[in-house]
Symmetry: D4
Subunit: 255 residues, 8 copies
Amino acid sequence: MTSRRQLDELLAAVADHSVHPSEAADELSKLPYRDLGFARVDTHRELRQGAPEVILGEGKTLDEVARIALALAEAGASSVLVTRADEPMRAAVREVLPEAVEDERARAVWAEREPIEKRGHVLIVSAGTSDGPVVHETRIRAELLGTHVTVHEDVGVAGLHRLAPVIPDLDRADVVVVVAGMDGALASVIGGLASCPVIGVPTSVGYGSAHGGQTALNAMLTSCADGLAVVGIDDGLGAGSIAARIARRAEVRAP
Amino acid sequence: MTSRRQLDELLAAVADHSVHPSEAADELSKLPYRDLGFARVDTHRELRQGAPEVILGEGKTLDEVARIALALAEAGASSVLVTRADEPMRAAVREVLPEAVEDERARAVWAEREPIEKRGHVLIVSAGTSDGPVVHETRIRAELLGTHVTVHEDVGVAGLHRLAPVIPDLDRADVVVVVAGMDGALASVIGGLASCPVIGVPTSVGYGSAHGGQTALNAMLTSCADGLAVVGIDDGLGAGSIAARIARRAEVRAP
Amino acid sequence: MTSRRQLDELLAAVADHSVHPSEAADELSKLPYRDLGFARVDTHRELRQGAPEVILGEGKTLDEVARIALALAEAGASSVLVTRADEPMRAAVREVLPEAVEDERARAVWAEREPIEKRGHVLIVSAGTSDGPVVHETRIRAELLGTHVTVHEDVGVAGLHRLAPVIPDLDRADVVVVVAGMDGALASVIGGLASCPVIGVPTSVGYGSAHGGQTALNAMLTSCADGLAVVGIDDGLGAGSIAARIARRAEVRAP
Amino acid sequence: MTSRRQLDELLAAVADHSVHPSEAADELSKLPYRDLGFARVDTHRELRQGAPEVILGEGKTLDEVARIALALAEAGASSVLVTRADEPMRAAVREVLPEAVEDERARAVWAEREPIEKRGHVLIVSAGTSDGPVVHETRIRAELLGTHVTVHEDVGVAGLHRLAPVIPDLDRADVVVVVAGMDGALASVIGGLASCPVIGVPTSVGYGSAHGGQTALNAMLTSCADGLAVVGIDDGLGAGSIAARIARRAEVRAP
Amino acid sequence: MTSRRQLDELLAAVADHSVHPSEAADELSKLPYRDLGFARVDTHRELRQGAPEVILGEGKTLDEVARIALALAEAGASSVLVTRADEPMRAAVREVLPEAVEDERARAVWAEREPIEKRGHVLIVSAGTSDGPVVHETRIRAELLGTHVTVHEDVGVAGLHRLAPVIPDLDRADVVVVVAGMDGALASVIGGLASCPVIGVPTSVGYGSAHGGQTALNAMLTSCADGLAVVGIDDGLGAGSIAARIARRAEVRAP
Amino acid sequence: MTSRRQLDELLAAVADHSVHPSEAADELSKLPYRDLGFARVDTHRELRQGAPEVILGEGKTLDEVARIALALAEAGASSVLVTRADEPMRAAVREVLPEAVEDERARAVWAEREPIEKRGHVLIVSAGTSDGPVVHETRIRAELLGTHVTVHEDVGVAGLHRLAPVIPDLDRADVVVVVAGMDGALASVIGGLASCPVIGVPTSVGYGSAHGGQTALNAMLTSCADGLAVVGIDDGLGAGSIAARIARRAEVRAP
Amino acid sequence: MTSRRQLDELLAAVADHSVHPSEAADELSKLPYRDLGFARVDTHRELRQGAPEVILGEGKTLDEVARIALALAEAGASSVLVTRADEPMRAAVREVLPEAVEDERARAVWAEREPIEKRGHVLIVSAGTSDGPVVHETRIRAELLGTHVTVHEDVGVAGLHRLAPVIPDLDRADVVVVVAGMDGALASVIGGLASCPVIGVPTSVGYGSAHGGQTALNAMLTSCADGLAVVGIDDGLGAGSIAARIARRAEVRAP
Amino acid sequence: MTSRRQLDELLAAVADHSVHPSEAADELSKLPYRDLGFARVDTHRELRQGAPEVILGEGKTLDEVARIALALAEAGASSVLVTRADEPMRAAVREVLPEAVEDERARAVWAEREPIEKRGHVLIVSAGTSDGPVVHETRIRAELLGTHVTVHEDVGVAGLHRLAPVIPDLDRADVVVVVAGMDGALASVIGGLASCPVIGVPTSVGYGSAHGGQTALNAMLTSCADGLAVVGIDDGLGAGSIAARIARRAEVRAP
């Protein structure tokens, strides 16, 4: 379940008697997380996948969130990020992690404990002002994972001329994240212009036939633009994660 | 239920004894349609609303369609149009109305008995080649109702440059009909450029998340483009009807 | 992306050296909107499409709305309209635009800065008293865009006799807007009587099987009435926009 | 589970020793149906509820249907009716019940073995020609259950004048069944005119936003017409059943 | 649109010059409702259909409801009933109609001005205690329309023995109303026992897969019980109306 | 409807004249529940099915819940459990049943009056911390029904190593309950490992495409894991009931 | 991922040098399935979970199915079962496994190679004749897994008396499987009578509001019957699997 | 709309009089596609976005597809790929492009005219054998776009041990594509192991609650695995496109 290399090493240790078999089995079972009773903190994820676990605040009590945040920090996570956190929850996190900062609109609070050297460029483009919370959740996640981020908000599609200043940045980006609610048409338009991978984030902005983001999601999924994949409705966090994975691996361009 | 004027006239005739009251009541009840038993042909609609009834072939037998077509023709409809008609149905109509012509892709057959003088310009723009059947159903209806029609097919949105040659025609149109399936994004893009009314027709083109046209429909309904209304999925007929109503009423522009 | 004419002129200016090529490219990119950081105000839309941008209040902060409203006013919009605005938001707009007026039921606030000369007639018909907010959003938009508007509320369909006084106005209208929730049947009934274009606005009035307006929307889309198109659920704004486009272009009738 | 009276009688028989207790328990368990292995034919339903069981052909083999039909006939059902039966199934039934007659459009076959004396009036009104199969399934069921049935097809709503000749029959009916697909608006219109109970039958006629009858169903359910209830999509059988129950119980009117 | 008889009389009056034609047309247009501006009160419905209009409180202001209630009372309605009325609305109605009484759980307030002589029996059976509000809305409507009503609450289906005492009342009823949420199975069970018409009312009781009543609705619609029709989710009012229409017309049984 | 044995005994009593027939019929109808007017308390269920009735707090008033709780206690239920009970409701129950205890997160209050001897092992495994309320509702129900319960929370699927310590308990369990929201993937993973029956409980944890638990529900239903069945969204109560039925019947394993 | 015991043994073997570490890692990776290129046959599942893998025919070619069937047989599966197999597929399986038998209605073909000694009782009850295919798929699976199976078909709910002969078998069963389409009400009724675990199988039988089994599924999930869990629509296979797991583990009852 | 660089160059050419302004405008409008009447072939896309247009066969006639394929080939596309092409369509393409090859299961036909030098590694993992068509559509697209592709089919999740041999390839991949229907759980499991970007492709494999791929789609979208984005149902083409974009840009790893 851990990486193949770790499995090989553990088995080698058993073979040379430096580790007893039953001990090895225990090792395998218990090591990579910390059990808080109500939560098993995945302190091992950053080693395994290169990014620390993120805490979804919604549905947890203040106390639970604070204790998980502390456990991650104590386990040496490069950053601790809590999303979907209302004001009291952000305060609770700042109490246990005094260095934490917050962003009200993105409903996020985070402590960057060991900043990662930045690599690769993520471009975030949004359709409207109301998409702001998702835009900034994406930005925070991508920055904490060590990428340069550029943001263009309220680009729209009804007046395509507003798109013009985005084009030069399209050419410089390693990945583009398009954040759009309602008809999600901006993803198709950007998808028809960009040559790098494009990640769409449908948002729940809009009423009536917007169906809480479902229309934008479906529109993005059925778009005939090439090179476009999507994350869940309002999932700025997921968009930031995959965008950072793509951007950090992208080859450095010749000047 | 007929126009106010007819009601006034009938009542006046009753008042001056040229029509007996119970006769008038009968008149009101029986006149404006022809009863074929299985169908009541609305021979009066053209007088009342300026456009003859159209026959939806789907769900009717060959015999029923042929008899309704004949009844409309005998009642003096300016044109007789049958939509959603497969090959045998089109043949059945041509047997009773030998002057009828047909369009295989649009699955339509029609006889234009008294061509209406053309007025107003309808521009039809489609997203892809597969939208063809709906495009041509729209065109046939709008032409039979007496408008000039221009068609641009497969304009797409993934390569916006394909849109360029459409722009001059946008300025000349009295109404634009946008036919698009999948994400329906073309309606938003055209809606952001046109200054005349825009009618969107979502099509059932696409698979998976296209949901048989529902995604395109929802996207068009929630588009933030101004001046856009939509008809039902694949409803080229409805689009042609309202487009013709708008175009024929549009003021003649100064040269 | 701007009109063809503007593109031609700019290119001509480049050709005669009055504008430098890189300057022209910059021009194209930056001119037609104002960047507030969180929003790009489309100051150009009125020139391009004949109607100023409208501000959707929902999902924006008071400060954002006030700043966008001011930017539109400063850019010379003929009117500034904010919809889906609750009481505090309406107050915030009236603070920056003291001449603004508001309509509580329509949840709208607007400043009409350069009244447009009225042309064309829009008739609005609603099914029930509860449709009022949407009726008045439609009316405000259509009036600000320069049309004469007549309103008949609570016409219903359960007692068709209530429809009678609407009929004479049907004959005078250039376009009819039908506002109805629940089963949306009024759109079909009006659609069977009118000879001008009909725009349906489904509303979220009703409970249970009304499905928040989805039933009325579907019923209107699948209505067999000829010459009917629809806008999104509760979208009085969109209805007002397209109705005004149709009505203002309609030829003046002979007396 | 049988009627209270039967329970009382059986218990009385046990009390006076004419029936042994364990025998009575067996009696209770086995009597009122016939077990064919793959089917338990409810030979008792007509006694219990006044109407014999109906056989839904769809999803059963020819042999199963034929054997159930025979079992019902042998058990003395007043009529044997098979619905949703294609041609081979209708033939299979006619083989075992030679006196059976069929209706191709309604996809039904039936043998009326002991005609019930007719009582009460059912009026069936349909919106369009394509609703025919459901209209006639309703009619057949209601006639077999012993009612007088009047049918008006293709009444529509787009041309309300076609409704006029229906009105006098509305006044004579004990119950009205409205059969309509697409927007189902006819049910609301009739519901606003009738003073007797109204049963709506949504049909799957229509395409796109008709959603296979779901739109008509929802529209009927959310109609503000008073005194209207509905049965399932295309369920002519159910409509015929409840209509007959209502009509046969209706008090005979004074002449 | 009014009854045939009234049309005949009016035309006769025109014929004998007692009414002038244009006056008659006006009469037809204006008589049968009262226009309050925001509402057209259907004062004529009771004459036409035997039951006065009911006021749906939801979505209307206190002032609107009070004025409509007063208008109906002044027009001589046998009763004035407001449903979906919260406490302040019920108080507002009682202020203008001091004789009004209310039922908190049913969220209804009403004034019975001219009690109708009771005729026919309605039996209401509910699945659970939480269905109470709908049960009592049904009961109030049916009683105001002049029927005897019997209620059995919380009959359930999980313990069928609780159903036993209902059976004798089933035999006495002219119509049964079954009120049930969640799986709606009680309607199928009652539908298999009753020989009179059965009206199902799905309720929004339940969570998760109850889908706000949609599951109960679908289950009732697809039930194979004979003689069952349904009204909309939580629509106690509609159930009371049709039940009363059925019960009042049912022939009086011999003793 | 009661068990066959009871029916036999009652009939035997009638046969030997110790019970009069009409008395027996009354007995059958009235015995097994207590009628509170608004509720019929199923005091008989524990005898019939081995588990006392549970009170769903949601949708009932405080007074109704307290009175039903008392009635169950007075009828000798082994335990009285109220679920979906907010703080005031829990207090109301504790007032009438002072020995009752409560669990805030599970929103439950209960009085265990005659503890059942424990038998069989239920293992509950949850995907995340936010599933806690459902986990503990399941646990409380299963414990009250007399089983040993082991709980592992926040096992996740993104880091499968967290699953390791659960495996030994899988081998000891008689049934496993998997509680998971969002993608519900944990049920498939556990379903691929366990050899005993597995019960999935989808939870409404998650946002956007989680669709309030519908996605987890569908994923569990379509899982290709063998030996998996599911209960409704958030239905910890149902999961506890069936798990206890399975576990208590499981054969005691040889040591 | 294999059982803990196997992991311990392998690690012990590594520790005593009877197995080399890298060999052990290879072992872990490759042993428990056979790779056919297009399929990895889980030859290990029967050891791990006590039941051999089943082959879903739908979506596979004849050749693929035949080769997987053969691979399972060669690996020593106690039985090889192919479901959702049309006639040609069943023939293809019988060609490679000549001892295989088939059931046309259940669309299944299987070879029982080492019959398992039967233990425990499964009772299958269906609502209607059309549920037959699912009933028999359930039966075949449960029998192949070594249980006694009793079947009652067409029990219905509309005539509850048909349920009576099922009751004695309810008392004898270790688990009941209820197979029902349309409103799925039979599951609630049986769920209210049985004291053992109940597994519901919604079927796609029915039309219109049956929604292809979704209504029955939802009804079963929201049923207030205690001790009921469900499998997917038409998933007789899954029902057979979990029923067998429950029944085989059930303690043998005292005579 | 073309790239900024091209715009700059064209404007420079206009400035130095080598291109006339109106000529430039024409250039901008007409160059980048070829108009076949029914289709505008985007011959420019490969230059603009690095990948040639792909032809979706579904919904087009044989003749249309053949003519578009030829046009792309004549315009110098590096490859011509037709997807969703049945046998006759594949033959029609091979007639005009004799060098074309086809894959029956993937329903694709393609001609690779100028093979692109391969760069980067794409790993494709599927849940079951039935996902094969989508797997191979993904593979073909990614190979034609110049990447190395490794495929592991039928990895499943019910027997996680089958996953083991995939792990070493996970470490080597630049991007992983997970193809899975039914519950889509494989994407969550792989998403918890991989450290590179993961693209999920839900497939329409499965029946009942699989809802034609919608369940897998929703499950993937709501998965808590980090670094996962999805494309539409069965959209192997889209997955291949974005995977190739990611893989080709990934930095070459040190050996």
